[in-house]
């Protein structure tokens, strides 16, 4: 008597949720994978709420309000904020100087021997080498470059500017090359076939159609560079990050909160400026 009833209820369950078993399987698999991750990252969330960590945290956070607003402190923050912007701008300017020639070398559209179908052996090798150089430059994070340069040139903005310049050379070079290669190659190729130089072919064939895209990407990267230049201060490259690091080490909540607010404002302003600029271009 009971067996058809159970059958029906089973059938009913499968109608209600046909993917039930599959879902259970994936959840179980996720749990099995999650366990070693929790162990490896020493994820013990309850330590956050233990007395010895809660007390200094609450004290630090209570210190956040009110933010420190003394005139001389604000003046110092303004100076360091300008430094952060200047480091980003100088870094991007240097990156442009390196990235433009490197992307011109790697762009396949500008290859004369490539017109015949396949590239010459020598030029293909040069392209590969430059491409690998760009990959290495952008694979090492800017913070690591900064750590290395701080060892060589000492503390200060020079290390930060160099770090930004190297990483962004890699990024800009790669993306410039992609933009150039994705644009319409007909004009460039006919110019090259008729015997113009490669630079002329670039200026008259490639640049007019991709100038807006190139500029807009550069401005976007400048915005990213401002964020990373603030972070570089944490390894001693000057600017807002370094002051923030110092204040945090002294558990000075009110100073940290002022600088965090200034930093968020700066990021917001850079975001606005860059999107205004890019709207103006399109």
């Amino acid at each position: 008597m009971s067996s058809p009833n159970r059958n029906r209820s089973n059938a009913f369950a499968s109608v209600r949720d046909p993917a039930f078993l599959r879902r259970v399987f994936w959840l179980a698999l996720a749990a099995v994978l999650l366990w070693p991750m929790l162990v490896l990252s020493e994820f013990k969330i309850w330590t956050l709420f233990s007395a010895e960590s809660l007390k200094p945290t609450l004290k630090f956070l209570a210190d956040f309000f009110p933010p420190k607003l003394e005139p001389e402190f604000l003046l110092m923050v303004a100076r360091e904020t300008w430094r952060t912007v200047a480091m980003a701008t100088a870094g991007i300017a240097l990156a442009l100087i390196f990235a433009i020639p490197l992307s011109l070398i790697t762009a396949r559209v500008l290859s004369v021997s490539g017109l015949a179908g396949h590239m010459g052996y020598g030029s293909a090798m040069v392209r590969t080498v430059v491409r690998w150089l760009l990959i290495v430059l952008r694979s090492v994070p800017e913070l690591i470059w900064a750590l290395i340069f701080v060892r060589v040139v000492g503390l200060g903005p020079t290390a930060g500017v160099l770090a930004i310049a190297l990483t962004y050379t890699g990024m800009l070079g790669k993306v410039y090359c992609e933009i150039l290669e994705s644009s319409d190659s007909a004009v460039t190729h006919s110019l090259l076939r008729n015997g113009t130089g490669r630079l002329q072919a670039f200026f008259y064939g490639l640049l007019p159609q991709s100038a807006a895209e190139l500029t807009s990407y550069t401005v976007y990267r400048w915005e990213c560079a401002i964020r990373s230049s603030a972070v570089l201060g944490f390894v001693g490259a000057g600017g807002l990050g370094q002051q923030m690091d110092a204040s945090m080490k002294m558990f000075n909540g009110s100073e940290v909160s002022t600088m965090l607010i200034v930093f968020m404002l700066l990021v917001w302003l850079a975001d606005r400026a860059s999107s205004r600029f890019r709207e103006g271009l399109s």
Binding site: S41, A90, S139, P141, V161
Partner: protein
């Protein structure tokens, strides 16, 4: 018979109107002002920073750099050290994966009110912007006070920053999703939670997965670096060996970082291709 296109029949104007190229400077041209502004910004930047090019390009610095590079070219491949490196790499991977997972949960929780309307939306959006605008590294230094040295601070830092990014993207995905399935369920009296799970979530799932993968890729790079401020993983090893000037070990750590990044890039490229 096919009509000849109109354009071929049009006679050329007898004389093209002569037009001078635009002048180099025009007060009404917005782009000119932008260019001037950028030039001034760049000049002011270089001028105001006390950049020590002399020091950087001096013989001493070049020699230092050369020695540095030479030392970096001899990585340490001894077994006990490699063992340690392997665990640090796994720790970095775990940090990034767990941080991303937490961010997905937190991001979805915040995306629901952020895709609503009214004051709730404004407040949650502001919170998401705040979470997003502070980089992982700054979150990590802030969290070190609460969570102490170690990978947990790094994981939480990644989770906080990424939940800001993902929350905003998810909110946009929810807002752009088709509303009629949800409406159909709502008119037949289904609860809001079920509507989300059976009408909205299946629609945004592909976007959700692709955004998450993309952020995970980013987070692995970030996780490798976070250790520099004391938040565990490969970065902690790097800053430790670098501060002791043990260049062979530093070089191995750098190689491990590079390998990790390249591997993840290849993996996510492959997954993206497999997903179409």
């Amino acid at each position: 018979m096919k009509a000849i296109p109109d354009i071929a029949c049009k006679p050329l104007p007898a004389q093209l109107p002569s037009q001078l190229p635009p002048p180099l400077w025009d007060a009404r041209c917005k782009a000119c002002w932008y260019v001037v502004f950028i030039a001034l910004l760049t000049i002011a930047s270089f001028w105001s920073l006390d950049l020590q090019w002399g020091k950087f390009l001096s013989l001493d610095a070049i020699q230092k750099m050369g020695r540095f590079v030479a030392e970096l070219l001899t990585p340490n491949f001894e077994t006990p050290f490699l063992n340690k490196l392997w665990w640090a790499t796994l720790e970095t991977l775990a940090m990034s994966a767990l941080g991303t997972l937490l961010a997905v949960v937190l991001g979805l929780l915040l995306a629901l009110p952020a895709s609503h309307s009214g004051a709730v939306r404004t407040i949650t959006r502001a919170a998401l912007n705040a979470l997003r605008s502070i980089p992982e590294l700054i979150w990590a230094t802030l969290l070190l006070i609460a969570a102490g040295l170690g990978p947990m601070a790094g994981t939480l830092a990644l989770a906080l920053h990424t939940s800001g990014v993902l929350g905003r993207l998810f909110a946009e995905a929810i807002e752009n999703s088709e509303g009629s399935p949800a409406m159909a369920l709502r008119t037949s009296g289904v609860s809001e939670l079920k509507i989300f799970f059976y009408a909205t979530l299946p629609q945004i799932m592909p976007q959700l997965i692709s955004y998450t993968l993309y952020r995970w890729e980013n987070n692995i790079r970030a996780a490798a670096v976070l250790g520099v401020v004391g938040a565990g993983g490969l970065g902690a090893m790097l800053s430790f060996h670098m501060s002791l000037f043990q260049m062979a070990e530093t070089s191995s750590v750098l190689l491990a970082m590079l390998a990790l990044v390249v591997l993840v890039d290849a993996l996510s490229y492959w997954i993206r291709k497999a997903l179409g």
